[in-house]
Each structure stands twice: as structure tokens, then as C-alpha cells.
Amino acid sequence: MSHQESSVISEKVTRVDGPSKVRGEARYAGDQKVDGQMHAVPVLATIPAGELESIDAKQALALADGIVVLTARDMPRLHPDLDNITVPPLATRHIPMQDNLILYEGQVVALVLAPSLALATEAAKLVKPIYRTHSYINPEHQVPQSADPARGNYSGSGPLDWTKGTPDAAYASAPHKVKSIYTQPSRHANAMEPSAIVAHWHDGQLTVWDSMQHISSVQITLAAVFGLSIEDVRVIAPHTGGGFGVKAFVWPHEILAAMASKVCGKAVKFVLTRQHMYNMVGYQPQMTQHMALACDEKGQLAAIRQDVENVTSLTDDYVEFGSAAARSFYACDNISISQRVKRGNINLPTFMRAPWDGPGSWALGSALDELAHEAGIDPLDMRIRNHADTEPQTGEPWSSKMLLECYEEGARRFGWRTRPEGGTRDGYWLRGFGMADCSQGQARFQSSAGLTLTAEGTAHVASSFCDMGTGPATIFRQVAAEALGLPLSAVTSDHGQTGLPAAGPTYGQSTTISTGNAVLMAAREIKAKLAAHLQWPVAETVMEDGCIRRNNERLSIKDAMKLMGMQEIASESTFALPGGAYVDMGAPGRPARSFGALFVEVLVDPDLGLVRLRRATGVYSAGRILNPLTARSQITGGIIWGWGMATMEGSHLDPERGRWISRDLAGVPIPVNADIPADLDISFVEEFDHEAGPLGARGIGELAATGVAAAVGNAIFDATGARLHDLPITPDKILGALRLV
């Protein structure tokens, strides 16, 4: 199959799940009802550090019949099998309600079960925990530490220290240099659908309807919690209403719901509230990034240092590898990075869109802009000069990279070379222009998919992937339809449950390329089987318009199957990674990354400290684009996400109570339609990435959220001459930087 002949692929197909969602028919985990189910409402610690001395549940139990108050004493102990599950996919080794220790505010200390949500909610308010408080460790004030590999595997997914060349010496002797510290607050994902699970034990088996990003993780982890065999755990997730990373791993509420069901003998529904989403699942941690960059007279980078710190819990070391940016973005002989953590009494952070490169691109993309100004070089020329033709860490060739084309096309569309001078007035506003690199490492996960072609000329895709509303269920049908020469309407699919061929997770912008490649391989296998039956050489066999053809010989699928005496042909394929790996970042020797260039014009009101997005042009190198509509949606969503990070979002801990303040959407600004220009200018360069997989595609979901904050900060600098180093860039900071305060 050649990509030039694309038909169904590359079409603007609307999402197959769209109509059911618009009509309200789509059933999410929390919509599930099981006869006799109990509703769970947690009682949460109101102190950040201490011990639970006792729990008085008398009043709660007296409220009505049928109320159950579970405490640590009632819960089953974790089965030793869980020790074999790494962290991740188990989100945290610390499972509440196993002992009396309280390590963060909002930790579950008891679980109230009742036949109705209203009753459970009311009863939970009447449960009175008695605490002994310990002194609170505010993570933001701690001295950075080396991560400890014994505290989970997060720290093992990248180098904690790495040096190439002699960055300090190169920095010292370079003519142009900048040193600055970039900071950003913790941020919560605020996905539209909160996490939710219905857990049901029956006959020694466990079934869960769960809101998640990876079926297999939930299955193996819950099996281990109870020492079950994997087949005894059934996991169902037809829809996930957004996850952004916080549903990627298995969090304690999923385990607690399953335990509660086991204890009470009924199905248990546990739907987190918006407030619970702040404490009971992860978030992107507060970060400090120390940057030092130097270049020669022509702007050639002489040294890059990126030393990154992030907060984490007392129980697990989550490391937010912002330093991936220094290791990957620009050509430079002298690079050094480090990653440190600051532990304290808070819940554990996690991967959130866009992990690593999102924060990393903010610090590096801003620092590079500082250096360009220091050296008197246009920020775009600075990037062209330092283009990494090969992967900077290893020197290996990229799987494919067309960033230079993105720069050129982006600059042309935006009018970068002819832009007005920064600070030009437009009424009360100052105009500013900025740009930055977008870049995100490409994860690939081993993934399997099944495909069945029937004698009626229909096909069915089966794979356990989760669709979070981003479009995989649509795209995989497109892939199958095109490869089998069928109209899209002839392809159906099943996903989101165990018992189907196991797909990789829906995170790390990996779904399309991992499971998509498996679907394509399964389709090719079907074609090969058909060709073999017909005794046609596969290379000469074409499937198109519901027919199979070799030169002038042409049979409808129906006739071909009849000829072969078959009702259906089934195949199952696995997109296996070299060396049997479960995950990699591109084929060995061909690291994969998605790239792009984002140009923005912002308006800054210097009297009121306001900043507004006037326009944005983004051009991306992400391999082959399978569906321009869903691709565009991912990119606009990413830019909006980045605008929120740049200008308004932040979750703050009360300095004394260790408590997230403002835990509802009325008190937490995230962008609204009015903030975003209607015509974001988004395009992709033509590309087919043979190295990343047979589909030719790479990921875009995280990519779009990278570089935005840097482009915005750079544009604010262009408008005002003030460099903002602390996100979000809010009016107080703009006024402060302009020395008005």
C-alpha cells in the first residue's frame, strides 16, 4: 500500500463516537448500574501529616439502615503479588486504609457505603476521625534530593544526571550567555469526566467498569491486589471522558472500590467529585528549572545546562523529566542535565499532558529566546542555526524529522520575517510576537489488534484500546477500511475491554501509532491470506472498492470468499517492538520524536497587566496525518491547554494546612472560548515516517501542548521588554515586571 493512494485515510472523518455523546447515550463508567449496588463516599484526612487515632462512626451508622463505614481494620490486606507490579502502572505504592498513617491532606481514612449517593454523602459528613498531628513538611520548601530507585520506577525512565562534553568550561568561555530560573506551579488536569469506577465481585471474580487510559494496567494490577489470576478480572471502559494522564495508572480509589465490593458483597460505585480529583489522583508537579545557555557570535550553542526540580510525595519519587528538552531539542556539544525531587506531605504527582517536554520546552524555549536577544539574533534564525540534525544525546539519526520545513512554512504563514516591531501600539494594547519549538518524544507500546473480514464485505476491528474522545475508534476503522478496500461504513469496532487483543495505553501520544500499526498489520495479513487462497502474488494484489484485484482479474470480496468457501477471515497481529520491549522511544538506532514550530501574536495591556492571544500559527512534523479533523482537534486542544498553562492555571497549596485551595472550576481558571481566536492556523508538513512504523504516522496529542508557554512568554517579552520566568503569567506578574508595583 502506498500512501499516495490514500483514500479513507487522510479524510476528514468525524468521530464515530460523536453522535452517541451528543445525544447523551454514551455510557461512562459512572453511568453503570448494577442491581443492589452501593455508593461509596470517602472520608478524607483534613490534616496533611499525622496519625488516625480513632474513627467515630456512630452518628453515621445511625442515619439510616444499610450504611456501612469501612475503616482500615475492615479492608483486606494487599496480596504479596502486588509487590511484583511496578510503580507505574500501579500509580503509587502507598495504598490508604492499610494502616493509620496520614501522609497528605485528602488521604482516604474511611469509606462510607450506602444504597444511595445522597445517603452516603450525608453519612460521610457524620464520620468523625480523631487525629494526632505530626509536623507538616511543605514540599515546596524542601532541599532538592536525588531520587531513590526504591521509591518507584518513575525515576528510572530517564537519566537523573547526564553530561556530554564540558558544559561548564564552554559556558565560561562563550561570548554570549544567559542564566535564569524558570518556575511553574502544580497543575491539575480537570478532565471533564472525573475518575469513576464500579467494582463488582461475584463468584470469586472481579468486574470493573472504570474510567481509565489502559485496560491491561487495571487488569493486572487489580488481579495482583487480590492475588487473582488475570483471567478473573474483567475490565470495561467503553468511553473515557478525558484523562490527560491522571487516569493512566491505577490509583488507590480503584483498589479501594474493589476491596469495598469484596467486603460488602455488593457492587460498589465510586465516582470522584471535582474536589476529590485534587487529592486522589495525580497532577503535574510544581517545578523549578535552572537554565544556563551560552553561544558563540553566530548563535551556535556552546553549552546547555538544565537542572530540574519537582515536588513529590513522601512515598514515591515521581520525577518530571523536563530535562528531556536539553537532551533532545538542539545540537550542542556540551550539555548537562540533572533531575532532583523535593519530598513532602502531598499526594503524588503524575504524568500530565504534556509530560517532560511540556515543562522542559517552557524553560528551554524561553531561555533560548533570552540567549537570542542577548546575542542579537532573530529567535527563528537561532533555532535554524542550532537545528539538531541527529539526536543530540546519541548522535543517532531521527526516524524522520521535518522541523526545518515547519520553520519555513510557519514563518511564511505567520509573516514572521515581516512582523511589526514588538511593542507596537494598537489602542491600549502592545503587540508582541514570539515563537518556540514544539517537540515531544514518541513512545511506542507493544499493541495487538484483531481484524475480521466477512463474506458480506464488512470488517470488524477488535482491540482493548481506550478512546478518551480523541478519535482512535474512528481512525482504526479508517486504517482497516483503507487497507481492505472497504468503505468506512462497512467497518465496525470493539474496544475498551478485556478479552480483546491487548492494546497499549492511551497516553504518550502512542495510541494511533501503536495500535494503528497493529490494525494495519492485521489487514495486511488478511490480504495475504486471501491472495494465498487465490494463488495470487501478494505484491500484485490490490484491495479496493469492495473487491480484490490482480491486474484485470477482479472479484468482489463476496465472490472471493464464496470461491474459497469461507464465511470470514480473521487475523490477529501484534505491533511488536524490537527485542520484545513493552515500550520504546522509536526503533533502536532511530529515535522518534514529533516536532513543530509555533508562532504567536499576543496583546499586552501594560496598565492592566492583561495578556490576550490574537493569533497563532502552528506547523507540525508528525509523520502521516491519518485524519485531518481529529489531528486538528488535538492540536487546537493542545494550544489551548498551553495557553492555560502560560497565562492562568495553577494549583496552590495552603502554606500551613498543606491543602490544595480552590478545588472547583468556579475558582480555578482554565481557558474559555472567549480566550481563543476562532481561526488558529494549523497545518502539517507532508511526511511519511517509515521508521516509526508501517503506518508512517507519529503522535500529536502531547506535541501540541509543548512550546506554547515559551512562545507566549517570548511574545510578552517582545511586546513589553519584560521577561517573565514564573508561570502562569498573570496581571500581578506583568505589572511587577514592568516595575509598576
Binding site: L44, T46, A118, T121, E122, K125, Q275, Y428, D607, L608, G609, L610, R612, T647, M648, H652, D654, P655, E656, R657, R659, I661, S662, R663, D664, A666, G667, P669, P671, V672, N673, A674, D675, P728, T730, P731, D732, L735, G736, L740, V741
Partner: protein
């Protein structure tokens, strides 16, 4: 959840009667009250729905002005031709409030009764908030206070009243008409909310069983404007806001009224500024000096010094905008 009785009042007298009972709460649009019940700020035993008091949902001309019935929906007030024409400051303040959906439900009488947006006040489990539990203290005073008051606060409460319309009303010298079984009270909007030095646990001067029937505005203010400063462009409370009405004689200010929003527990009139502005020319340096004088009493908390600058600049800008209207 806490059980309650729901009743629909069939007359103002009936509403006042029912509203006087222990644990009763008046229900208008419900956009605030229901949130309070969910969070645990209020748990009324009796909800008195006043939607059927038809005479309260009109805008009527009265001697030298307008009377806006308490049950008028925010959007209906903002889009009323006489209000758009004669009181642009009010129309604009309303249209920048909440969201289109909320404005279709929320009433103008319920609006000034909305409570503070302080995150410590809105928490489900409260440690220290005098407005939640009198005498428990004020966590915001030493906590995250970036969005809190710069005028009239005490260590007992640093929250700000978040209503936008109330700020416009304060600049218009509007009067809140309140009825109870004892008769009718006329309360200037400027005095409707209670500052913490008087009572840190109080929100407004409205007493139990009192019913707001309407809000009166008099002298038309065609040269008026409302400026709302916020990080995002819609559906967010103000960091600061400024309502200005000008009476102009050519380029000279005959009379000015300025109220600031989200800077204190009530819309904050810059009276000193207003005095100094009389007789000053638009665009002259005197204007900024006059505005600065109004900030003599401003006091920053640990994290909100920027709000003094911001509010000052917002007032100046709003004067410009009002003169262009």
C-alpha cells in the same frame, strides 16, 4: 442530604411570612443558594420559592428613573432598551457577569446577595473562616490572599464582595428596596454590604424575613462605563473592576462617581477622588492625581500589593472609557 421543605410563595406577604420562619431561605434563581447547600455553607429547612411573585419581574419607570424588580433576570436587565441607553455602566457590568446561561437564570435581587468567592470560604471542610464559623479566624489573611481586599479589611476577614452589578449600582447611587412585615426599608447599595470591622461574619445588612422587591436607579448616566479586569476574557470574577459615571460639561467634569469592585467587602466608592475631579479637564494630569488621592486608604496584604496599582489603573481607564461613551 439534609432534608428540606419546598414552598412556593403566592404573594409578597406570604413570602415574608414564610421567610421569617426558622431555617427558611428565599429561593430566586437558585444559582448561589444551591451551591451553598451543596458545599455545606447553608442547610436550610425550608426553601421559599418566590418565582410566582409576578409583579417583581418588571422594569418600571418611576419618577426620574427606573425601578428594577428583584426577580428580573440579569440578561433581561442588561438588554432592556432604557438601561442600555441611559445606564450603560449597568448593562455592561451585567453582561460581564457569570455566563450567558447563568444570566438567564440569576435574578438581579439575588445578585448582591451572592457571597464571597474566597477559596477558604468555599471549602467543603473549613479550618478558619469567620464567615463560615464566627470566631474561627481567617485563613486567607496569612494564606493565599492575592485576590483579596485592599480596602476596609481586618485580620478577621480579607474577602471581597464579588458582584459586578452591585458595583455599577453603587456608582449609580442605586437604592435597594426591602420589605418585611415591619414595613419598607430603602438601603443605598453603597451601604448594603457589611465591612468586617463592623462584623466579619456578616455579608449584608439584610435581616431574616426581609425581601428585596426591587432596586431603583435615578439620574441617567449616559457617560458611564464598567471595566472588569480578569485573567480570562469571560466567565470569571474580577481581579478588580471599576464603574464610573461622569457628568460632563464639554471636556470638563461636572460631577463623577467611581466605585471599585473586588477590592473590599463592598463596592468601594472613591469619594475623595470624586470630590477632586469636579471641575477637572478630561485628559489632564489632574485626573491621575485625583485618582491617587482615593487610594490613600488602600492597604495591601502580604500577596496583593499589585491590586492597588491595578485598581488605580482600572479607575483611570474607566474614566477614559466613560468619557468616550
Amino acid at each position: 442530604m439534609h432534608n428540606f421543605v419546598y414552598e412556593r410563595a403566592n404573594s409578597a406577604d406570604n413570602a415574608m411570612d414564610l421567610g421569617h420562619r426558622d431555617g427558611a431561605a428565599i429561593l430566586a434563581g437558585g444559582t448561589e443558594l444551591l451551591n451553598w447547600m451543596r458545599i455545606g455553607i447553608e442547610s436550610p429547612d425550608l426553601l421559599v420559592d418566590i418565582r410566582d411573585l409576578g409583579h417583581l419581574d418588571r422594569i418600571e419607570e418611576i419618577e426620574g428613573g427606573l425601578r428594577i424588580g428583584a426577580l428580573c433576570r440579569l440578561n433581561d436587565v442588561a438588554c432592556h432598551p432604557a438601561i442600555k441607553r441611559d445606564f450603560p455602566v449597568l448593562s455592561s457590568a451585567i453582561l460581564q457577569s457569570a455566563s450567558a446561561q447563568l444570566r438567564n437564570l440569576a435574578t438581579i435581587g439575588g445578585n448582591p446577595l451572592q457571597r464571597v468567592r474566597c477559596p477558604y470560604f468555599r471549602e467543603e471542610t473549613v479550618n478558619a473562616c469567620n464567615k463560615r464559623h464566627a470566631g474561627s479566624g481567617c485563613a486567607a489573611y496569612e494564606g493565599h490572599n492575592e485576590r483579596m481586599a485592599i480596602f476596609g479589611w481586618t485580620p478577621e476577614c480579607v474577602a471581597v464582595q464579588p458582584s459586578d452589578p452591585a458595583v455599577a449600582f453603587a456608582a449609580l447611587d442605586a437604592v435597594v428596596i426591602v420589605q418585611s412585615t415591619d414595613g419598607t426599608r430603602r438601603i443605598p447599595m453603597r451601604e448594603f454590604h457589611v465591612l468586617p470591622d463592623e462584623d466579619p461574619s456578616a455579608h449584608s445588612v439584610l435581616g431574616r424575613g426581609e425581601l428585596i422587591t426591587g432596586i431603583e436607579i435615578s439620574t441617567p448616566a449616559p457617560h458611564s462605563a464598567y471595566l472588569k479586569v480578569r485573567e480570562r476574557q469571560s466567565y470569571e470574577y474580577a481581579l478588580v473592576s471599576a464603574a464610573v459615571t461622569l457628568d460632563l460639561d464639554g471636556e470638563t467634569i461636572r460631577n463623577a462617581r467611581i466605585a471599585l469592585g473586588s477590592v473590599a467587602m463592598r463596592p468601594w466608592r472613591l469619594l475623595a477622588t470624586e470630590d477632586l475631579l469636579v471641575g477637572k479637564r478630561l485628559g489632564s494630569k489632574d485626573i491621575a492625581e485625583a485618582v491617587d488621592a482615593g487610594f490613600a486608604e488602600a492597604r495591601a496584604l502580604s500577596g496583593n500589593a499589585y491590586k492597588i496599582t491595578l485598581a488605580r489603573n482600572a479607575a483611570l481607564r474607566a474614566i477614559e472609557l466613560a468619557s468616550e461613551n
